[in-house]
């Protein structure tokens, strides 16, 4: 049986962040309660591929190529014991190259791109790998803050094997000046853990479609499965 130990707070974002007011009005004031994990928590929505019609995705074009820097993003999803997690559904969403989302509450005065939806669903292969092409997202201001600019990032929502490894995050790009001041990225205090929220640049390719390549592996919770007898 897979074991799901609680997230180690040292490797995670702080729950409350100075100058991020909603973290003070929304994070519960009472301590979280320990509970046993039964079948209900150890199972989860592991079979959403068909319902979502998820597939390998190219966000960089609809009928025509979206405006911006073409990139590929790839990586592998494993559990804490390094076992590849195949058949995981990923939901991705991101701003366009001008830092604008297709969303009713995005008030940033930047143009939308008719050829860029900024969202997709895909599935990991047998080796737990994912791969998609997209446009590098732009930075954008958090208008109500009066100062905070979000560095370029891509959001990931991942459905693993169980309710316990349901995972949401956002991944940043290396070398961005705004990374230094971002409230969320820097809420991961441990530099090593912070690096695990930043893509690795793995080179540029030249060809029919020339692009820059980024890579990030994810580790979902789950370990210590009893070895299966032969």
């Amino acid at each position: 049986m897979l074991d799901y130990v609680p997230y180690d707070d040292k490797t995670q974002m702080d729950r409350q962040i100075q100058r991020y007011p909603k973290s003070f009005t929304r994070v519960p004031s009472r301590p979280l309660i320990k509970r046993p994990l039964t079948l209900s928590e150890r199972t989860g929505p592991a079979n959403l591929q068909e319902r979502f019609q998820a597939q390998t995705a190219d966000l960089s074009r609809t009928s025509a190529r979206a405006v911006g820097q073409l990139i590929s993003v790839s990586g592998r999803i494993t559990d804490e014991d390094g076992r590849p997690m195949s058949g995981c559904v990923l939901e991705l969403w991101q701003a366009n190259s001008a830092g604008k989302y297709i969303h009713e509450i995005d008030r940033h005065k930047a143009p939308l791109d008719p050829n860029f939806s900024g969202q997709a669903r895909l599935v990991t292969n047998k080796e737990g790998e994912y791969l998609f092409n997209t446009i590098k997202p732009g930075a954008y201001p958090v208008l109500e803050s009066g100062w905070w600019w979000r560095p370029p990032h891509i959001h990931f929502s991942i459905f693993g094997m169980s309710w316990m490894d349901r995972y949401i995050t956002q991944v940043f790009f290396p070398g961005e000046p705004l990374n230094e001041t971002d409230l969320l990225l820097n809420a991961i205090r441990d530099p090593e853990a912070r690096d695990r929220a930043i893509f690795k640049y793995t080179g540029a390719e030249m060809g029919d479609e020339s692009l820059m390549k980024y890579q990030l592996d994810f580790v979902l919770r789950g370990k210590n499965k009893t070895p299966e007898l032969p």
Binding site: K22, L39, W163, I168, V219
Partner: protein
């Protein structure tokens, strides 16, 4: 051994396409069992409704079966029942799910697992919705005076209400994650 990746906030711009049409777990009523509507509001400190909060649920079908390889009875799971659902709160902080009353499973009272994702939360919040304040290994972990907070209130025929108070007076109990 590897270390679990850092969780992140869902932020304000989760695509509405991802939360449209995902709050009906019954395949338009075709699922077996007692159909119910589960509604409620999600509020933050001061009782202020939260808009644009994402709620996901995971539950057994009306016979207490999960469509998942770990459930030995998975092959008997109701083909018309989706154990998973998602909704987004409106400007009044309201959400709604169309589902069935989950069956009891070994050692557990009927219940629905629920998680909250919102601006301001760098991690998801997880809790459990029950239908009665009765002995259950998870509900028993909650201080007795707070257990009623995890029980959905019947408000009509097939209608249940479960309000979520993220922070403040009568705060909803949440579990370690």
């Amino acid at each position: 051994m590897s270390v679990a990746s850092p969780f992140g906030t869902i932020g304000p711009y989760f695509p509405s396409e991802f939360s449209n049409g995902t709050n009906d777990l019954t395949n338009k009523g075709a699922a077996r069992g007692r159909k119910i509507t589960l509604t409620g509001t999600v509020v933050e400190e001061g009782g202020k409704p939260t808009f644009n909060t994402i709620i996901e649920v995971w539950q057994a079908d009306s016979n207490g079966i999960f469509r998942h390889p770990l459930d030995e009875r998975a092959s008997e799971a109701d083909p018309n029942f989706q154990g998973w659902g998602r909704d987004r709160t409106d400007e009044h902080g309201r959400y709604a799910f169309h589902t069935v009353v989950p069956g009891a499973l070994e050692g557990r009272q009927p219940h629905i697992n629920v998680m909250i994702l919102a601006i301001g939360l760098t991690r998801r919040l997880v809790s459990t919705i029950f239908f009665a304040n009765a002995t259950d290994p998870v509900l028993d972990c909650v201080p007795p005076e707070s257990r009623e907070r995890l029980v959905a209130r019947q408000t009509g025929d097939g209608e249940y209400e479960f309000n979520i108070i993220l922070r403040g007076e009568n705060e909803t109990p949440f579990f370690e994650d």
